[in-house]
């Protein structure tokens, strides 16, 4: 598979095949989803010992669970005996996962096992297996690396994968802006109970490259803007944003989004918001004041976007996380989580919840139109003739510059640019080529590397 013929970063185009072709999709499962850091869930979903929550990594079902020592684990949800889907509930509480088929039992209890997910109960182990089964080798497959980042749980199957911090790079600053408390405390957020899950017949790369900052598609939301769900009343779908909002991307990492040009905390403007709901408006104003106070002297980093490959988040309106699980070349299963300050008053939570649900998810008046567009674009790219014509990502091509204020990022001073789609596609190609982690993290020189197209230096 000649990946370079599929994605032409220098010219800002990509073949439609990558959005519809099964062979490419299957390679994505191997090269991307079996290697990248993936979002699994939130610690609040396994708040108590022995709580579990069943999630997905790519097409695979996984169990997120908290053991009796309060450690969180990510386990492949398939019995090592004959493949049975081990845990068949969406959530619950147990420390012993017993397989319905032949009752192999896997434990997460640290008193019993060295490695969580270890195979402990094998009926007839002595009599029928003659104690010869190597139980240690047949425990549940564990994620090779797992991280709890401010409550969000991430994992990768690849023991060689870069550390989560290195993998995130500067994008971490923006993720913080979603996960930190509105009052400026580190962390302090949680997800509302209830994850919206739904299927849509679009390739998973549409949402990934849409949420990375596709400001040009704002026009497709004109209907919700006209109908008006502005939380301060009137038309539009959001409160007015502060100035200095632009697209930033991390070309070496594949992340990107829209965010605010970093500035000193004190200089970051804070306009009133949620004025239809005074209790929310007041809460947010109070938290903003605390934030400014707590972080004064520091730099204000704030943004939303996509963390390569398939997790997108929004730091504000609506403050959410969405995961685009691949489900075949032309289907995506979305999982949407709603973020909230853990200790916000109930009424504030309720109003925010209502606004978020009105905006996002399959019933969200904004997201509905996105879902329709991604589906229609996927379907219209299947035709035997249409397939031959590449997609165009030339908006702002060659106008990117390094942004010194945001480590590792490039920008071109605008929100409206396709720089970030190219950032993401470049990373996609690097994974798909099968680069190893030394190459992926640029610890070694790479032959024929494709540079990100930057603005030509003016000759003084």
């Amino acid at each position: 598979m000649d990946i370079r013929s599929l994605v032409d970063i220098a010219n800002g185009t990509a073949s439609r095949e990558i959005f519809v072709e099964d062979k490419i999709y299957r390679r994505e499962l191997e090269q991307i989803f079996a290697r990248s850091w993936l979002f699994v869930g939130h610690e609040s979903q396994v708040a108590n010992k022995d709580d579990f929550y069943v999630s997905r990594m790519g097409e695979d079902s996984v169990i997120l669970t908290r053991d009796r020592q309060d450690k969180i684990h990510v386990l492949l949800n398939s019995c090592r005996h004959r493949g049975m889907k081990l845990c068949r509930y969406d959530e619950g509480n147990t420390r012993l996962f017993s397989c319905p088929y032949h009752a192999w039992g896997y434990s997460t209890d640290g008193n019993l096992v060295e490695t969580p997910g270890e195979l402990v109960g094998v009926p007839g182990y002595e009599k029928y297996y003659h104690s010869e089964l190597q139980k240690k080798e047949w425990g549940l497959i564990k994620a090779a690396q797992m991280v709890n980042y401010k409550g969000t749980i991430w994992a990768t199957w690849d023991p060689n994968a870069a550390s989560f911090e290195d993998y995130l790079g500067g994008m971490r600053l923006w993720l913080d802006s979603a996960l930190d408390h509105r009052d400026g405390r580190e962390g302090g957020s949680t997800v509302l109970v209830g994850v919206q899950k739904w299927r849509t017949n679009c390739n998973w790369k549409f949402p990934a490259t849409n949420f990375i900052g596709d400001a040009a598609h704002a026009v497709s939301h004109v209907s919700v803007n006209l109908a008006g769900i502005n939380p301060s009343g009137g038309k539009g779908r959001r409160d007015q944003r502060a100035s200095g909002h632009a697209a930033f991307g991390w070309p070496d990492l594949g992340h990107g989004g829209l965010g605010f040009l970093p500035r000193s905390e004190e200089e970051f403007p804070r306009e009133p918001s949620f004025q239809r709901y005074p209790v929310v408006s007041e809460y947010l104003a109070e938290m903003a004041a605390k934030h400014k106070e707590r972080r004064k002297g520091g730099t204000h980093y704030q943004g939303k976007g996509t963390i390569f490959p398939n997790m997108s988040f929004h730091e504000d309106q609506p403050r959410t996380i969405i995961v685009h699980h691949p489900n075949g070349p032309t289907q995506t299963e979305f999982w949407r989580y709603y973020l909230i300050d853990s200790d916000a008053p109930e009424e504030v939570k309720d109003k925010l919840r209502h606004y978020y649900m009105t905006y996002s998810g399959p019933a969200g008046m904004t997201e509905q139109d996105d879902l329709e567009n991604w589906t229609s674009a996927t379907q219209a790219s299947l035709g035997g003739v249409a397939r031959n014509y590449p997609y165009n990502y030339q908006q702002g091509l060659g106008h990117s510059e390094v942004c010194d204020l945001l480590p590792g990022a490039v920008w071109c001073g605008e929100t409206v640019t396709e720089q970030n789609q190219l950032v993401w596609l470049k990373r996609w190609a690097e994974f798909m080529e099968g680069r190893n982690w030394d190459e992926l993290m640029r610890r070694v020189p790479i032959r024929n590397d494709v540079p990100f197209p930057m603005k030509a230096k003016e000759i003084a």
């Binding site: 969406d90 619950g92 899950k197 739904w198 109908a227 649900m357 009105t358 399959p362 329709e372």
Partner: protein
């Protein structure tokens, strides 16, 4: 309630439910909105797969006030949804879906215990909502509904609707149609 009143009330309510479905399927959305009270509470909770203990405990559907739902809103939001469709540029509904709301098993709860001329009733029903749009896209939502109706003059208004769909992972691309 006397038997003959019960018969008449069931007949009347079935007629009301049929009318409601007809208004929405024939895109008379504004008239449809008129069948809901201003203090409407409209909720479609999400279901989870739980062990039998959870089912017994009645927590299969996430119904706490702060739980995320498919829908949890009042009449104003419903009106906004209609307004969005009416813009003509709401791509999820442009071209408009063709829907059919099949409402069956309409049952007035505790009919015997009601006075002869009740002012509020609970009506349970099952539904199948079919949506067809574009060339070949089909979605079907099936489940049950609990409606609370209030007599207003000579007619009825729905002031609470709770919709329980059977799916946990929604197998429709979106919920841009009205249920």
């Amino acid at each position: 309630m006397k038997r003959e009143n019960a018969v008449a009330l069931r007949s009347e309510i079935a007629d009301f439910m049929s009318l409601e479905a007809e208004l929405v399927d024939t895109r008379r959305f504004e008239e449809w909105l008129g069948l809901f009270s201003e203090d409407l509470h409209y909720r479609m909770p999400m279901a989870r797969n739980l062990a039998h203990q959870g089912i017994r405990a009645g927590v299969e559907y996430l119904s706490e006030p702060l739980d995320v739902s498919w829908f949890d809103e009042g009449k104003e939001t419903l009106k906004t949804r209609v307004a969005q469709i009416r813009t003509g540029v709401h791509w999820a509904e442009e071209p408009l879906s063709r829907t059919a709301h099949l409402v069956t098993n309409i049952r007035i709860v505790d009919l015997d215990g009601l006075p002869d001329d009740p002012t509020e009733i609970q009506v349970n029903s099952k539904f199948l909502v079919y949506r067809n749009r574009n060339a070949d896209e089909e979605d079907t939502l099936i489940g049950r509904r609990e409606d609370h109706l209030r007599r207003v003059g000579g007619s009825w208004q729905i002031f609470r609707r709770t919709v329980y769909i059977c799916q946990t992972v929604l197998l429709a691309r979106n919920l841009s149609f009205l249920v």
